[in-house]
Symmetry: C2
Subunit: 199 residues, 2 copies
């Protein structure tokens, strides 16, 4: 699955799986600018092209509409448009939060922030309150993490090892993570208010 600057005739939302939104420089440096999780929207009402690449990070099931049909639906349903505006505003807040991370956080803080976000989303999914002792599987490769955080895979790997060494996380293997103390992880992330990305 891959859309670049091509014309889009459909629009849709993720049902299952993980897709990523990214952009590259001509020499190959890549930055991920969004993670599309179930319920997230792909495509832009009112616009023909997206300036970003959409790539599946796993098998992805989409619920799609013909773009024309969707635009008509919007025109007829103000409440749908209101909802869309809200979702877009939330994404904008998330993007700005991420700008703070990319511009000002250290490698260790970046990793801790990403882990905190994924841990929180997983906890929310399971409706578990405690958060401490939470165990989850990273849905991303080291390369995807690096592209997301503006780092190299080596730095990601090293910082993961450092967090493990410092008992902030436990790693059963590269993907299976346990967070014994969610508060400690948040401290490492560097912002008192835990960044509100991905909801």
């Amino acid at each position: 699955m891959y859309w670049a600057g091509e014309e889009m005739t459909s629009i849709g939302s993720v049902v299952t799986g993980v897709a990523t939104l990214s952009r590259s420089l001509s020499d190959g440096r890549r930055q991920m600018v969004g993670l599309m999780l179930p319920s997230d929207f792909i495509g832009r009402p009112g616009r023909k092209i997206s300036p970003f690449d959409v790539v599946a990070a796993s098998d992805v099931l989409l619920c799609t509409f013909q773009k024309r049909a969707f635009d008509t639906m919007i025109a007829q349903s103000p409440s749908l448009e209101t909802r869309l505006l809200e979702m877009t505003l939330d994404e904008l807040d998330s993007a700005r939060e991420w700008m703070l991370l990319l511009g000002r956080k250290t490698a260790r803080e970046k990793i801790a922030s990403l882990l905190a976000i994924i841990a929180r989303r997983d906890a929310a999914l399971l409706k578990s309150k405690p958060l401490d002792g939470l165990r989850f599987t990273l849905p991303l490769t080291r390369e995807a993490m690096a592209d997301y955080l503006g780092l190299t895979i080596e730095t990601v790997s090293r910082q993961m090892s450092a967090l493990k060494r410092d008992r902030i996380i436990e790693m059963e293997d590269a993907r299976r993570i346990t967070v014994p103390d969610y508060g400690a992880l948040l401290d490492e992330a560097g912002d008192d208010a835990d960044g509100g990305l991905l909801e």
Copy 2:
């Protein structure tokens, strides 16, 4: 002018001047996440608080509405909401473009990108086509540039000097810039398609 996590009872748009949107880490590191220029919107319909700081970078004239009244207007005018959605989607694209800059560009590329954007905006304002030999005044201090680009003021200063030394720009004083060859500046910015921030 300064709004932080406070409750907002008004909403508005910039008429003249420049305001900035930024966010800080507890230890003072700051990242600018948006530049509000004339016609840009401040505030979030449907939300009480903004998680970012709005700071005037110059004297700013705002056109404000009571938030309640504005929400009512939206509810009554679908076309207003459509326009708002469009503006928000554009801002989201800009934010994502900026994420690429923050995550993957070098200091020199960051500076060149910012200069290219400001040069282009100024040229558009003057409706001048040529772009080469364009002369303009930076609306930002070195500190604001640094906060915008995720750099320190020293690095900003050094890279400005380097671009001057390499004849990419001319500097009459710290703020008065001339771009003899817009294409050359774009090359330094690192992306073939010139990044579409700030329109």
